[in-house]
C-alpha cells in the first residue's frame, strides 16, 4: 500500500499541468470550457483524497511500513538526495484531512468563481498548491518538504495577486512573499545544518540521530526550523502578513490562510518533535512566541470591524496556542488542535461572505466593559501594535537607503564604465514615451540606436563589432566570396575566347599539321 503515496501529490500536479498546457495551447479557454477545467481539478483532487483515505486506513490497519523510497534524485559526491515519502502516523492523517478539505474547497470554487476573469488560472494555481501541500506533508526528506513549502508560498503569492490589475493586491502579494522568504531562508539553513552535521536530509534520520547532536547543535537546527515555522504560520513578528493576504478570492483564502497552508509551520514543529525535545531553549522560544502571538491576536482581534480580518487574527491566535502547546510538550494536543482548527476555520472562511445572512437576529456581543475602557490598548490594537511600521523602519528603510547609495554608485561609476542597457522606451506605454521625449531621449531615430552601446565597455564592444563587420564585409564576403565568383566568371570568358579562336579553321588546320609533324 505504501506505493500509493506517490500518486497523492502527483494527481493534482497532473491536473495543474493539464490545465496549464491546455490553456497555453488554446484548447481550454473562455467560459465555454469552464466545466472542463473544473472537472479536471475536481476529479483529480477527489481521487487524491480517496487515495489518501485509503492510505490512512491501511496505516490504521497496520499494513504500511511507514516509509517508502522511490529512488535517487540528486547524487553528487557525498550529497545523496532521495525521493522518499512517510507513509504512516501524523503525516498520513494530515494528508488525508488536507486532501479532503482541498477537495471540498475546489468543489466550492466551481460555482463561486463562475464567470470570473482568470477562472482557469485560479484552478491551475489551486491544483498546483494542492500538489505542493500534499508533497509537503508526505515527503520523507527536507528537500521534498522544502519544494512543497516553496511552491505553496509561490501559489499563495499568485492568488493574493489574483486581481493583478489592482496595485494594492500586487503590493500586498509582494510584501507577503518577501516576508515568507525570511522563513524560507531559515528552512534552507536548517536543512543545510542537518546535512553538515549528519550527512543526511531525511526526516527519519534527523529525528533518529538527535542523541548524536550536542545540545548546541540541536538548538541551532531547532531554532532554524522554528523561525521557518513562525514565518509560515504567521507568528510574531511575522503576523502582519496574514492580514495582507486577504486580497485573494475567498475560496483561496479559506484554503491557504484558514484550513491548510498556515498549519504547515505547526506541522513542521510537530514533525521535528525529537529535536525540539532535545533543545529546551528552542522549546521555550516556541512556547513564548506562541503565547505572545495568542495574546497579540486576541487584543488586535477585538477591534477588527470586517469579517475577514477578525478571522485572520482568530487564526493566528489559535496557531499561537498550538505553538504554545508544542512548547509546553503537549504534542498530541497540538496535533489534534491543528486538525480540529483546520476544519472549523475552513468552514468559517467559506461562509464568511454570507456572514450578514447568518448574523441576522444574532448580533455580535460587545467587548467586556473593563477592556473597553483601556484607551491606549484601543489605539495599539487598532494600529496592530505598529508592527508593520516597525518592520518598515527597521528593515525596509535601511535597505532602501542602501539601495539608493548603491544606485548612485551604479549610475555614476559602473554605468560610465560598463554602459547602460538600451533605453526602456520600447517596453513602456506611450505616456511614458512622451515623458522620455521631454527629458531628451531620442525617439525618432531609433534605427540608429541599434547595435550601439554606451559607457566604456559598450563603446568598446560597438567599435570592435564595427571593425569586425568591416573586415567581414570587405574581405570575407566581398573579397573571397564575391571575388571568387567574379574571378571565375572572368576566367570563363577568357577560356571561351580562347576556345572560339582555337576553333577557327586556320588554327584548326595548323593544329592538325603540328600534330602530324610530331607524330611522324
Amino acid at each position: 500500500m505504501d506505493a500509493l503515496v506517490i500518486l497523492i501529490p502527483l494527481m493534482p500536479l497532473t491536473a495543474a499541468s493539464a490545465i496549464g498546457m491546455g490553456h497555453l495551447f488554446g484548447v481550454i479557454s473562455g467560459e465555454a470550457d469552464e466545466s472542463i477545467t473544473a472537472d479536471i481539478a475536481g476529479w483529480t483532487i477527489s481521487m487524491s483524497s480517496l487515495l489518501a483515505l485509503t492510505l490512512l486506513s491501511a496505516d490504521l490497519l497496520g499494513k504500511n511500513t511507514g516509509f517508502y523510497n522511490v529512488g535517487h534524485w540528486l547524487n553528487s559526491d557525498t550529497l545523496d538526495i532521495q525521493i522518499n515519502f512517510i507513509t504512516g502516523g501524523f503525516n498520513v492523517r494530515l494528508a488525508a484531512l488536507f486532501s479532503v478539505l482541498l477537495a471540498i474547497v475546489i468543489h466550492f470554487s466551481v460555482n463561486y468563481m463562475h464567470r470570473e476573469a482568470g477562472y482557469h488560472r485560479f484552478f491551475f494555481i489551486l491544483s498546483l498548491f494542492s500538489s505542493a501541500i500534499l508533497l509537503l506533508v508526505l515527503s520523507g526528506n527536507a528537500v521534498g518538504t522544502f519544494i512543497g513549502w516553496e511552491v505553496a508560498g509561490l501559489c499563495s503569492y499568485f492568488l493574493i495577486a489574483y486581481a493583478y490589475d489592482r496595485p494594492v493586491a500586487v503590493a500586498n502579494a509582494t510584501r507577503v512573499f518577501v516576508t515568507n522568504r525570511i522563513g524560507d531562508a531559515a528552512f534552507v539553513l536548517g536543512a543545510g545544518l542537518s546535512y553538515a552535521w549528519l550527512d543526511s536530509v531525511n526526516w527519519s534520520n534527523i529525528n533518529a540521530a538527535t542523541a548524536q547532536f550536542t545540545p548546541g547543535e540541536a538548538t541551532a537546527i531547532a531554532l532554524c526550523f522554528a523561525v521557518a515555522a513562525f514565518a509560515k504560520s504567521a507568528q510574531l513578528p511575522f503576523t502582519p502578513w496574514l492580514a495582507r493576504a486577504m486580497e485573494g478570492p475567498t475560496p483561496s483564502s479559506a484554503v491557504f490562510y484558514g484550513a491548510v497552508m498556515v498549519h504547515a509551520g505547526v506541522y513542521l514543529v510537530i514533525l521535528l518533535r525529537p529535536i525540539f525535545e532535545h533543545a529546551p531553549l528552542a522549546m521555550a522560544v516556541v512556547a513564548i512566541i506562541g503565547l505572545m502571538t495568542a495574546v497579540y491576536s486576541f487584543v488586535v482581534g477585538l477591534t477588527q470591524t470586517d469579517v475577514k480580518s477578525s478571522l485572520v487574527f482568530a487564526t493566528s491566535g489559535q496557531l499561537g496556542l498550538m505553538f504554545l502547546e508544542c512548547g509546553l510538550g503537549f504534542w498530541q494536543l497540538a496535533g489534534w488542535h491543528l486538525c480540529a482548527h483546520a476544519v472549523v476555520r475552513g468552514y468559517q472562511f467559506l461562509v464568511a461572505p454570507s456572514l450578514l445572512h447568518h448574523a441576522h437576529g444574532n448580533p455580535i456581543k460587545p467587548v467586556a466593559a473593563p477592556l473597553a475602557k483601556l484607551r491606549w490598548g484601543y489605539v495599539a490594537s487598532l494600529q496592530r501594535f505598529w508592527l508593520d511600521q516597525i518592520a518598515d523602519w527597521a528593515l525596509v528603510k535601511p535597505v532602501r537607503g542602501l539601495a539608493h547609495d548603491l544606485s548612485y554608485f551604479d549610475d555614476h561609476i559602473v554605468d560610465r564604465i560598463m554602459g547602460i542597457p538600451a533605453p526602456a522606451i520600447r517596453t513602456i506605454s506611450s505616456l511614458a514615451q512622451l515623458e522620455e521625449q521631454m527629458i531628451g531621449a531620442q525617439l525618432d531615430n531609433d534605427s540608429d540606436t541599434f547595435a550601439q552601446g554606451s559607457g566604456l565597455a559598450g563603446k568598446l564592444t560597438e567599435w570592435t563589432a564595427a571593425l569586425l563587420h568591416w573586415f567581414e564585409d570587405r574581405f570575407v564576403l566581398r573579397g573571397i566570396g564575391k571575388g571568387t565568383v567574379d574571378y571565375g566568371r572572368r576566367l570563363g570568358h577568357i577560356a571561351n575566347k580562347v576556345e572560339q579562336s582555337v576553333l577557327r579553321p586556320r588554327y584548326l588546320v595548323l593544329f592538325v599539321f603540328i600534330t602530324l609533324l610530331i607524330a611522324f
Binding site: F450, T461, T464, L477, G481
Partner: protein
C-alpha cells in the same frame, strides 16, 4: 543487410519512389516524403534503443569490399560519436519537412533534394571508410546546391555558387590529406579508419602537421572555422528556412564530426597545432557573437551565432582532453537542437510577416503567445542558460579548456574570453526577446497568427529536447562517454 544499411538506404528508396510519381500530385509527394523521413527517424530511434552505450567500439558493423586493389570498401558502423548525430539528422529532416508545407513551386524536386540530402548526411555519419566518407561528403553538396539555388531568396544564385565553391575548395584539401596518408599504408590502401590510424603513426612529424592542416581546412569550411566561414551568412540567409535548419543543424556538425575523427588519428600534430586551434575557436566565438550582435536581419543573426557556437565545438576539440571533447560532442547536439529550433521559428515568423528586420517587430507576445514561449526558451538556451542543454556543453568545454591550458594565466585568459563571448551572446539574445515580444503595439503586427498544430509539434519536439537534456543530461552524456573515453585514451597515449 543490417539495420545500418536499411537506415541509410531508406531515404534513397524514397527518392526512387518520388522520381516515379507525377509532379502534379503534390499531396502524394508530401505524404511519401514525410513517410520516408519518419521511417528513417523511427529506425534511428530503434537503433538508439538497441545500441550498447557501454561498448566503446564500433557496433553493427557491415563490411563489403568494393575495390580490393585500392582497398575501398562499403563499411558502415556506429559509435558514441555518430549515434547522437544520426538521431539528430533524422529528427531534423523530419522537422524540416514538417516546416516545408509553404513550398509551392517544384514540390517534387524539392522533396527529392531533401531526401537525397538526408541520404548523404546519414552516409557521412555511418561510413567507416574514408573513401566512402568522402563520397557521401560530396553527395550532400549536390542537393544543397539546388535547394539554395532554386528555392532560395533574392541572391540565391550567388549564395549557392559561393557555397559550392567554398566547400569544393575545402574538400580538395581534405582529399589531398587522405591521399597523403594512404601513401603510407599500401597494405590496407587507406580503407578502414583504424588502419589509417596505424599509417598516420608512421608518417614524419612535419607531414602529420601538414595533413592535419589539410583536414582542418577541409572540415573547417563546413564547420565553419573563423576565416573560412564566408559562405555561411549568405547561404543561411538565402536558403529557404527548412534548408537552413538542416544546414546549421546537421551539415555544420559533419565538419566537427570529421575533425574529431581526424584529431584522434593525428594527436601529435594536433598537440603541436593546439594553441592555434584554441585561438581560432575563441576568436570565432567572439567574432561570430559580435557580428551577430550587429545584425538587424534575424536570420543573419542566427547564422552568425552559429559561427559563435561552433567556435565552442572547435575549442572543445582543441583541448584534447576528455572534458573538452565531451563538451564538443554535447555542443554538437545542443547546437543542432537550438539552431534547428531558431531557424524553424524564424522561418515561421517570416512566412507570416514577410520581414526579417528585428526592428519591425513589436509586442508579439499578445498575438503569438505559444511562439513567444518557444522562441524565448530557445534564445535563452542559445545564450547557455543553466537548465538548457547549451549550458551543459559550454560548462564542459570551459572546464576542458581550463585544464588543458599550460599555465594559470593562460587558463584565466581563456576563461575571460569565453565569458565575454557568452556575455555578448546573452546581449543579442535578450535584445531579440525584448524587441520581438515587448514594446509598443504596432498595428501591422496585430494580425499575425499563432503557431498551428504541426508547427507546434515540430517546435515542441526541439524545445523539449533542449530543456529535458538540460535538466537531466545523464542519458546524453552516457551515450558518448565510452567512446570519448577511448578516444581520450588514444590521444593521451600518443601525446606522451
Amino acid at each position: 543487410m543490417g539495420i545500418l544499411s536499411i537506415l541509410l538506404w531508406t531515404p534513397a528508396a524514397g527518392v526512387l519512389l518520388l522520381a516515379l510519381i507525377s509532379g502534379q500530385n503534390i499531396q502524394l509527394i508530401r505524404t511519401i516524403a514525410n513517410l520516408f523521413t519518419t521511417i528513417a527517424f523511427l529506425l534511428a530511434c530503434r537503433l538508439l534503443s538497441i545500441y550498447n552505450s557501454h561498448d566503446a567500439n564500433l557496433q553493427f558493423n557491415e563490411y563489403f569490399p568494393l575495390n580490393p586493389k585500392l582497398g575501398s570498401a562499403y563499411a558502415l558502423g556506429i559509435d558514441g560519436l555518430s549515434m547522437p548525430m544520426l538521431v539528430l539528422a533524422t529528427l531534423l529532416t523530419s522537422i524540416a519537412l514538417l516546416a516545408s508545407f509553404s513550398v509551392s513551386s517544384g514540390v517534387k524536386g524539392y522533396h527529392i533534394c531533401i531526401l537525397l540530402l538526408e541520404f548523404g548526411m546519414l552516409g557521412v555519419f555511418l561510413a567507416q571508410d574514408w573513401a566512402l566518407f568522402y563520397i557521401f561528403w560530396e553527395v550532400t553538396l549536390i542537393p544543397l546546391f539546388f535547394l539554395i539555388g532554386r528555392w532560395g531568396g533574392k541572391r540565391r544564385h550567388t549564395a549557392s555558387l559561393n557555397f559550392v565553391l567554398y566547400t569544393m575548395g575545402g574538400s580538395v584539401f581534405m582529399l589531398i590529406s587522405l591521399l597523403a596518408i594512404s601513401q603510407y599504408d599500401l597494405e590496407h590502401g587507406g580503407s578502414l579508419m583504424s588502419s589509417m590510424h596505424q599509417a598516420a603513426q608512421d608518417m614524419p612529424r612535419v607531414e602529420q602537421v601538414l595533413v592535419l592542416l589539410g583536414f582542418v581546412i577541409g572540415f573547417g569550411v563546413k564547420m565553419p572555422i573563423f576565416p573560412l566561414h564566408g559562405w555561411l551568412p549568405l547561404a543561411h540567409v538565402e536558403a529557404p528556412s527548412p534548408v537552413s535548419i538542416l544546414l546549421s543543424g546537421i551539415l555544420l556538425k559533419m565538419g566537427a564530426y570529421g575533425l574529431i575523427r581526424a584529431v584522434v588519428m593525428l594527436p601529435e600534430a594536433a598537440k603541436l597545432l593546439q594553441p592555434f586551434l584554441i585561438f581560432l575557436g575563441l576568436f570565432g566565438m567572439l567574432y561570430g557573437g559580435l557580428l551577430a550582435w550587429r545584425q538587424r536581419d534575424l536570420k543573419a543573426m542566427v547564422a552568425y551565432s552559429s559561427i559563435s557556437h561552433m567556435g565552442i565545438v572547435l575549442l572543445g576539440i582543441a583541448t584534447l582532453n576528455e572534458a573538452g571533447i565531451t563538451g564538443a560532442v554535447l555542443q554538437m547536439t545542443a547546437h543542432g537542437l537550438i539552431a534547428g529550433a531558431l531557424f524553424l521559428l524564424v522561418g515561421l515568423l517570416y512566412e507570416r510577416t514577410h520581414t526579417r528586420n528585428i526592428q519591425d517587430y513589436s509586442s508579439l507576445v499578445q498575438v503569438m503567445p505559444r511562439f513567444a514561449l518557444f522562441m524565448t526558451l530557445t534564445l535563452l538556451a542559445a545564450m547557455g542558460l543553466p537548465g538548457s542543454v547549451g549550458f551543459i556543453a559550454e560548462l564542459h568545454t570551459l572546464i576542458g579548456g581550463y585544464s588543458s591550458s599550460p599555465s594559470v594565466v593562460m587558463g584565466m585568459g581563456l576563461m575571460v574570453f569565453f565569458s565575454m563571448s557568452i556575455l555578448i551572446g546573452s546581449a543579442y539574445a535578450v535584445r531579440t526577446i525584448s524587441s520581438l515580444f515587448t514594446g509598443p503595439v504596432k498595428p501591422q503586427m496585430q494580425q499575425v497568427k499563432d503557431l498551428t498544430a504541426p508547427e507546434l509539434l515540430a517546435a515542441g519536439m526541439l524545445v523539449s529536447g533542449v530543456v529535458l537534456f538540460g535538466l537531466s543530461p545523464g542519458p546524453l552524456l552516457d551515450l558518448s562517454a565510452a567512446t570519448i573515453a577511448q578516444m581520450n585514451g588514444v590521444i593521451s597515449q600518443r601525446i606522451l
